[in-house]
């Protein structure tokens, strides 16, 4: 049994790694700072470590998918991220790809379930 758990852990890690980016992008039509994004995602059932998300946000910013701005008006300064123009285009395409993956995967899963 513990063997199965080990496999599951590894596979889930890979699966999450692939979905975190798309999950984060989906919530960034409106500017959010890192920790608020962690909370939003958690509320919607997507667990993500801040230690994974923060570096990811920086990387996406560097790639030009996200833009960022420091907001210094609040109690403590926070860096807000939002989809850039390119980012919006990317995400629209990504959403379609995701839908088709979900459909295909659902089909595959159904076959086994019978």
């Amino acid at each position: 049994m513990s063997d199965a758990h080990e496999h599951i852990d590894k596979l889930m890690q890979e699966l999450r790694r692939g979905t975190i980016t798309i999950g984060a992008l989906s919530q960034l039509y409106e500017p959010q700072y890192g920790y608020s994004l962690v909370t939003t995602l958690k509320e919607k059932g997507v667990q993500v470590e801040p230690g994974t998300l923060y570096p990811l946000l920086r990387r996406l910013e560097k790639q030009g998918v996200l833009e960022s701005k420091w907001d210094t008006n609040e109690t403590r300064p926070r860096k807000y991220y939002v989809l850039s123009q390119t980012g919006k285009e990317v995400f629209d395409l990504l959403r379609k790809e995701w839908q088709s993956i979900v459909e295909s995967m659902n089909n595959l899963m159904r076959e086994r379930g019978e």
Binding site: Y35, P50, G51, Y54, P55, R59, R76
Partner: protein
């Protein structure tokens, strides 16, 4: 609270200078947010801080995530070549000092213990040296060529039609061939550089070694050594080309021809120069009692000595020209 500063510092010190300030600010903000959520309005304790930092994980791991790309001393693009060069270097080095050890023992069997100790010591000193320099060289290439190397190996623009042909066995150059060639050149170079004195006729009297009559002129040897090393250097270049091409092609034959012609020119210049050979060769032979002055033997040896330049030249040139012709024929045959 001071612990937060220490944590942030531990992460950012592992990041590039330009990112440090920004990451530090963002990370401090994150930690405060996490603390706030954890305590829900009550006083923040040391345990809370520790809990949050434990949740974020080891600073090294976090820094690695921020850096993204993996760091290599010698990356996967260079690794194969690095191992190859290292192997050639090590095998050459070991053969060189084994041969030196054997020569020393032949010359002076009484001191075998000393020589053996030196031999063992050279394992300890020379092998790390070879490994060290090879690694340093490759590490420098990796460091300065970091971005560019990836582009070389990008699989973009790859077409099945660009696959190299399966080598025709007649044209193929076995990998071991150039490697053996390079080792041979290195060996000869080292021997010539460090033990020119042994390059001559060894005189044994009553079964005991009594001296060497060198072939080469010891006074002008330094200058010629440079030229010799250049010639052998060209030889190594030639072997490297063979290694890269992996099969005989017209361009490879062209390159070998150029390298060989330069070598022939340099050898011609050296060998025909009066200062190249030991001018006292005959006299020294007589002194060592190898031949008696004026005897028939003396005449024979003198003629061989004087004619040898000519014949060595013929043989060398024949060899180098043959090298070109053989390569050319291998290309033709396979067509």
């Amino acid at each position: 609270m001071e612990m937060i500063g220490r944590y942030v510092y531990a992460v950012t010190k592992r990041l590039p200078e330009a990112q440090r300030k920004d990451v530090a600010d963002e990370l401090s903000g994150l930690i405060e947010d996490m603390l706030e959520e954890r305590v829900q309005g009550r006083e923040i304790t040391e345990e809370d801080v520790e809990g949050v930092l434990l949740e974020l994980g080891h600073p090294r791991t976090l820094a690695r995530k921020y850096r993204g790309s993996k760091k290599y001393v010698i990356g996967p693009e260079l690794y194969d070549l690095y191992m190859l060069v290292l192997k050639i270097g090590l095998i050459s080095a070991v053969s060189v000092f084994t041969i030196i050890f054997m020569i020393q023992v032949i010359l002076n069997p009484m001191n075998i213990l000393d020589y053996f100790v030196n031999f063992i010591v050279s394992f300890v000193t020379i092998i790390p040296t070879v490994i060290g320099w090879t690694t340093l060289g490759f590490a420098l290439v990796e460091y300065f060529g970091a971005g560019k190397l990836e582009h070389i190996h990008l699989d973009k623009g790859w077409k099945p039609s660009s696959l190299a042909a399966v080598p025709d066995p007649k044209r193929q150059i076995k990998r071991s061939e150039p490697i053996a060639g390079i080792m041979f050149y290195v060996l000869i170079m080292v021997i010539l550089a460090f033990s020119n004195d042994y390059f001559g006729i060894w005189i044994f009297q009553d079964g005991e070694f009594s001296g060497i009559v060198p072939f080469l002129n010891e006074e002008s040897y330094g200058l010629f050594l440079l030229l010799i090393l250049i010639v052998f250097g060209f030889g190594i270049v030639k072997e490297c080309l063979k290694f890269m091409y992996e099969k005989w092609t017209f361009s490879l034959v062209g390159f070998t021809a150029i390298v060989n012609l330069i070598s022939i020119a340099l050898i011609l210049f050296m060998i025909t120069s009066v200062q190249f050979w030991n001018p006292y060769f005959m006299n020294e032979l007589v002194q060592h009692g190898f031949v008696n002055g004026g005897s028939d033997d003396f005449e024979t040896v003198r003629i061989i000595w004087e004619q040898s330049t000519f014949w060595i030249l013929i043989f060398l040139m024949f060899g180098l020209v043959w090298d070109i012709v053989a390569g050319f024929m291998k290309v033709r045959k396979a067509k």
